[in-house]
Amino acid sequence: MYIYDDIDQRNIDERVAQYRDQTRRYLAGELTEDEFRPLRLQNGLYIQRHAPMMRIAVPYGLMNARQLRKLADITRRYDKGYGHFSTRQNFQLNWPKLEDTPDILAELATVQMHAIQTSGSCIRAITTDQFAGVAPDEIVDPRPMIEILRQWSSFHPEFAGLPRKFKLAVSGSKQDRALVQAHDIGLEFYLDQAGQLAIRVWVGGGLGRTPILGTVIREHLEWQHALTYCEAILRVYNLYGRRDNAYKARIKILVKALGAEEFARQVEEEWALHKDGPSTITQAEFDRVASFFSVSRHETLPDQDASFESARASHPAFAAWIKRNVHGHKVPGYRAVTLSLKPTGVAPGDATAEQLDAMADLAERYSFGELRVSHEQNIILADVRLGDLFAVWEGARANGLATPNIGLLTDIICCPGGDFCSLANAKSIPIAEAIQRKFDDLDYLHDIGDIDLNISGCMNSCGHHHVGHIGVLGVDKDGSEWYQVTIGGKQGSDASIGTVIGPSFAADEIPGVVGKLLETYVAHRSEEERFIDTVRRIGVAPFKAHVYAKEAA
């Protein structure tokens, strides 16, 4: 992974010093609440319902064991001994003290971590596929480009006061796992007809209050121009995006208002002035950054292992875990493993300090000391030898990290919701827990198979409910909490936005509603058809009819 040089280190150290002084001035009454807000937000600090929440950046979801141990250490010393991995592939502290936040950032800086631009109206952390670098269907490892973009976007002077937050995603694989169509800018790498690496540029996708999938504004961009082109997009957005209404301030609204063609024309006009300028990425710089990710560390191994086969044959629980939590790898003899942060009864994405340390140990022993955070809020060990899988499973199981539910109904994606977040209309974690409790029969879960269930506590859609096969959204009706249900959403190359099935439900009805949706699926599915396929084939109506059918008297 990328290693800081003295320039990187000095940048984050200077950032800590700057923030420390800003916090001091705020506490001394020299900065008003309004003046301090954007400064603390761009350093990851929200003021939440119970306490501040601090969002720590995990660039493209990649961490090393030393960094994870530092996070564990911080949760023990400055928080309540646990933290939360979010759908933005970053790490959140729920109970830090405002006065401590400069010290927390200084601690993070000692392990090359920070909380820069993890919130606020600026370019946010750039995300990608959690299997970047190991996915069998990868065209190019997207991480060097994201690291180049990360540096470019850090303290970008022109884009420190955008109309709203701005999110980029980069995909380097055939199957899009980075949600490029649901970001303000999505960069999708592909090989053009000449076999050259090119980028398809998506703009104006987003979830939130007005869910919309992005539009391609440039089909073919040479990768050297990624920075100048993004800069042109951001300049047009910064100048013309709305600022009178926060709900209409995202770039998707501007693209819609101007029309994608006119927006693209303005971008191209701006870009023409800077194309081939000094920000054009050189092959040398790309290669330098790529050298951090292309290190060859894998042994030459056969793609089978006798001890693995015999363990699988003799331990059904291990075999069940293999089926859901172990993924293909482009190097023979290696597999990627998902450590589940979704056991029943725990808020999805939460991990205790002990679990963080345990995961760091597992990474060090079995996966080159590196880990990834997925936007599904689990942790990935990307480079595990086949012969080590059994040991990893045992280690994970001993720490409550081996729930074999990846991609299943109980692998719920969920925001912190009304228990923690001041924006939320409704709680989300207890809904996730109620669903996990109702569906605790693993055989049934495996029979239902691949399904994405996403829960957001409000329109801000941190739980990505619009792209859940089943989406649950907390809404406020006359001061009480209600839940709206959508079906048919999907992430990936054939992404779609879910359809609302009808009037909303009370919290205790939701597990039953999910049950009825699954009954409808089981009744109508053809062989091998996943839930989402059935919804797409037969439409929403049969599901709706079954959910809202009057109970027979």
Partner: protein, 220 residues
């Protein structure tokens, strides 16, 4: 005491800023949603009455609002020839009407960009465009809600003068111009990104080097 920073020093302000009078309330109500400068951003343009009622001092150097300049070009041109006229634009206004008035935008000795609220970052892009796309080289001044925590960004976008908000210390603000010593990206003040300024380490070199975090300011 002046609150104007120019070229890294606090200097006396020779210029008088001419504000637009506040719009009459009934005008706003009547025209709400109608007189909008740019249908996408949703801001209101200056009304004819505001432009008419703007009072410009008879002598000395003045910075006038863009709509007033556009409406009274004929009478103001003499002041411009004497080098006594600068123009300020608001964050939501477009640069084209300003730039199109001049064969060379450098006929203006001063352009000011108004930050209505410090979180409004449009002024950053306006400044960058004036310096790059339109080749403006004279004084570019930030006015309005100008606070020290935005100063470093403003300088990088091409500002060279900052009228610090009256209730804040310009002295303190000077320190913020030095917040970062080696920014990553190219910008107006230095178009070269960091990798064109320095030879940086690749993986092999980085693995063997040790980088020490420094929490204290470096002593030069």
């Amino acid at each position: 005491m002046s609150n104007l920073i120019k070229n890294n020093a606090i200097v006396t302000d020779e210029w008088t800023l001419v504000p637009l009078p506040a719009p009459a309330e009934d005008t706003v109500r009547k025209q709400a949603g109608k007189v909008v400068i740019f249908k996408v951003t949703g801001e209101q343009a200056a009304t004819a009455a505001q432009i008419q009622e703007t009072v410009i001092p008879d002598s000395g150097k003045v910075i006038v609002p863009l709509p007033v300049w556009l409406a009274r070009k004929a009478t103001l041109s003499a002041r411009l020839k004497k080098g006594e006229l600068g123009i300020w634009i608001d964050s939501f206004e477009l640069l084209e009407p300003l730039v199109n008035c001049f064969a060379d935008i450098n006929a203006l000795p001063l352009i000011a960009i108004h930050f209505p609220r410090f979180v409004d970052g449009r002024g950053f892009s306006l400044a960058a465009q004036l310096r790059t796309r339109y080749g403006y080289r004279n004084e570019l001044r930030a006015i309005g809600d100008v606070l020290r925590d935005q100063l470093f960004f403003m300088r990088r976008c091409g500002f060279d003068a900052y009228a610090i908000r009256a209730d804040r210390s310009a002295e303190d603000a000077l320190a913020s111009l030095r917040d970062f010593s080696e920014p990553y990206q190219g910008a107006v003040d230095n178009p070269l990104p960091v990798w064109r300024r320095h030879a940086r380490m690749g993986h092999h070199a980085a693995r063997t080097a040790t980088v020490q975090p420094s929490h204290e300011d470096q002593v030069d």
